[in-house]
Symmetry: C2
Subunit: 186 residues, 2 copies
């Protein structure tokens, strides 16, 4: 078994799509893992996403509580979503901010990026801190169910540190933005 980090240890032999949709594809690959062995690897293909931490000019953060069907529960999150065709990252971040909390911002600051769950999906995300946010009325898609929750930024940071935000990407995005948020509060 080679553990050379430079090498690509697995080689695609053949792909099959079990589902294609605008939100996700279900894909099953035949993969050559070396040593004459082939396996099947199933995973989700999903378009790149943006996460936006909305910081208002009076030092509050706008969270959303969104119904997520796969877990049959309402989850505390920040505005986020897939990048549309033709959109650049900043446009996507501004659109999600507008759609999910009716927000407009002074500055959209890139603060990091991550893979969402690389054992199961190729999904990757870029994280932004929106500053000077003015909140408004959300413009939801037919299938979205969410409510806004505006809290002092320090309270939201404490929630993220203590495990009070169950969505791992939202919590981690807030912590990636933490030092930029604290610099703007002091």
């Amino acid at each position: 078994m080679s553990q050379d980090e430079q090498a690509e240890p697995f080689q695609l032999v053949e792909s099959e799509y079990l589902l294609r949709s605008p939100w996700r594809n279900f894909r099953v690959d035949r993969v050559d893992i070396g040593g004459g062995r082939e396996i099947k690897y199933s995973y989700v293909e999903a378009p790149q996403a943006v996460y936006v931490v909305p910081l208002t000019s009076d030092g509050q953060i706008a969270l959303i509580r969104q119904y997520r069907y796969p877990i049959r529960a309402w989850e505390l999150e920040i505005p986020a979503g897939s990048i549309d065709d033709q959109e650049d990252l900043i446009e996507a971040a501004k659109r999600e901010l507008s759609e999910e909390v009716g927000g407009e911002c002074q500055e959209m600051l890139h603060v990091g990026s991550f893979y969402n769950c690389a054992a199961h999906t190729n999904l990757s995300s870029e994280v932004f801190l929106a500053t000077g946010v003015k909140l408004g009325v959300a413009h939801l898609e037919e299938t979205e169910r969410l409510v806004q929750l505006v809290l002092p930024a320090r309270e939201v940071l404490a929630l993220a540190h203590q495990g009070g935000i169950a969505d791992s990407q939202s919590a981690y995005s807030i912590l990636l933005a933490e030092r930029y948020i604290l610099a703007r509060l002091s």
Copy 2:
């Protein structure tokens, strides 16, 4: 559109499985979203997982660099994996620690939990800090490709804060464990 957080806004009508495997199921549900409307919601079913932050008695954290086929890249992570049948959480955490970094610990401390990516999967995870860890030789599955990377705990915490750990669950797990780690370093 009801936004009553107490209510279950979507109702399952019928499920279809496009794939079943020990690692994940691909599921497509017909869902009644109210107002006489039905949609299809596709998502991944995956068994609950554990994430383990391995802290050695000399104040280091053992990371792994693991090849993840869906992203065609080596990703910096902490030991993690699905809970096997009949296993309790602590047993699963100890098994992953042993398999992925050959580790044994003095204490396995529960520090939090999260959903991995609730738009796409029902997967949820429990996070542990393993203390007093003695590292050894990993026992990998045939399809696992990973190398160990042991760094001072403060360096790993800084990496997690600054976006140097691209796996969102691993980075967030480290930050959930941060205050317990700092208490043991001082």
